[in-house]
């Protein structure tokens, strides 16, 4: 089956990149070299890739450290993008 691709727009930067449905947003951002985050532990532990998802749907596929994303943060769509995969086009912000 063909893998879906979504557009991820970084608000206020005019930058956007493609993220496949089966990859974490941070991997795609790093590959595209156009996001505000280029590194981190890629394991949900360090918090370097914390961003807010302003619109669109997504799934959290790895545990995110509560030291960086509290339950209330998560309800407000604050995520670590190394743990998140898109399910639609997204608008995200630092």
């Amino acid at each position: 089956m063909e893998c879906r691709e979504y557009q991820i727009q970084v608000k206020d930067t005019g930058k956007h990149f493609v993220c496949k449905e089966n990859e974490f947003i941070l991997e795609a951002m790093k590959r595209a070299r156009c996001g505000p985050v280029h590194y981190g532990c890629f394991g949900g532990g360090c918090g370097a890739c914390e961003m807010k998802i302003l619109s669109g749907s997504y799934i959290v596929e790895k545990k995110m450290s509560r030291a960086h994303v509290t339950e209330s943060d998560q309800e407000n769509n604050i995520v670590l993008i190394c743990c998140v995969k898109p399910r639609s086009n997204l608008v995200i912000a630092r």
């Binding site: 949900g44 360090c46 509560r66």
Partner: protein, 308 residues
């Protein structure tokens, strides 16, 4: 024995986010052996060349990072004296009974130092049933796995007031400080501290937030093994931070990477032989890039900025 006070860091309890990928990393990629599980579900591990019961405990938690580290002290008498010295230094201590939350370990005394880290001291620990051979010994009993980490080696801690932490390690632990890095106004930015002939048992970097860990280091036997570890990082899609490279500080050969829960791990080989009577090596902070990464001479932002 010639060593006095603390012999070495003997135990670290880490928080991990999952036990699937993370335990697979520690056992099958780093190469530690699982020793036992506790009633509350923590997992105890050791390197194949370590004699004591275990050296790393993993605790499933909502956040990554370090619970505490524990140092082995040379005798029960020294342990009791050291507790008094800790109290006299100004840190209040608590007692963790023998064979309670860390199987095989004797009584431990715990306290919090200026950087916000919980340190513990102990003198008694059971030998592992599966330690290195001692009678006409072969080099190992079973062929080591993965990166073939011999033992836990050291850790780098981030927190406030490392000048006090350094003084504590010297005055109470009986350690010495082979290498330091200072800011232009003479303040301590980092220090490398040991209680034996290793260039560091632990290191500190000055940082406003307390209780952070930069990395936990494991010892590999040579530069070739560091290259093999790099292969395993790539094959297993682990996230590399830096290396393979050489530190000018400690002269260790090294790779840094993240385990699946986001704790930074170093595998480390070589390093100079430290002696307490050798002159201290001193780095200026504007030379820190060369001190940390001797080949490139440049500091990578992720290395300085990311701690758990």
């Amino acid at each position: 024995m010639a060593f006095k006070g603390t012999l070495r860091p003997g135990l670290a309890q880490l928080r991990v986010l999952d036990f699937d990928k993370t335990l697979d990393f520690y056992k099958n990629i780093l190469g530690l052996d699982e020793v036992c599980r506790t009633d509350d579900g923590r997992i105890c591990l050791k390197g194949y060349d370590e004699f004591d019961h275990h050296s790393v405990t993993l605790r499933l938690a909502d956040e990554a990072g370090l619970d505490y580290v524990a140092f082995k002290v040379c005798s029960p008498e020294e342990l009791e004296k050291m507790r008094e010295d800790v109290e006299a230094f100004g840190y209040s201590t608590d007692e963790v009974p023998a064979n309670s939350d860390q199987p095989g370990f004797g009584k431990r005394y715990g306290f919090t130092i200026s950087t916000g880290h919980r340190f513990e001291i102990y003198s008694e620990v059971e030998l592992s049933d599966d330690g290195p051979m001692i009678k006409n010994p072969d080099i190992w009993q079973r062929e080591p796995r993965g990166m073939r980490a011999q033992r836990m080696d050291h850790f780098l801690l981030y927190g406030p007031n490392i000048a006090e932490a350094e003084r504590f390690c010297e005055e109470v632990f009986g350690m010495y400080v082979p290498e330091v890095c200072n800011t232009p106004d003479g303040k301590r930015l980092a220090s490398w501290i040991t209680g034996n002939n290793k260039p560091h048992d632990l290191a500190f970097v000055e940082y406003p937030e307390p209780g952070k860990i930069h990395h936990l280091g494991f010892y590999l036997c040579n530069w070739g093994e560091i290259g093999r570890a790099a292969d395993l990082i790539a094959i297993n899609r682990l996230k590399l931070d830096i290396g393979p490279t050489r530190h000018a500080i400690t002269r260790g050969q090294s790779i840094y990477f993240w385990e699946p829960s986001g704790n930074r791990i170093e595998v480390y080989a070589a390093g100079y032989t430290a002696y307490p009577d050798s002159p201290q090596r001193v780095w200026d902070s504007d030379q820190l890039g060369r001190g940390l990464f001797y080949y490139s001479g440049e500091v990578v932002p992720s290395f300085l900025e990311i701690v758990t």
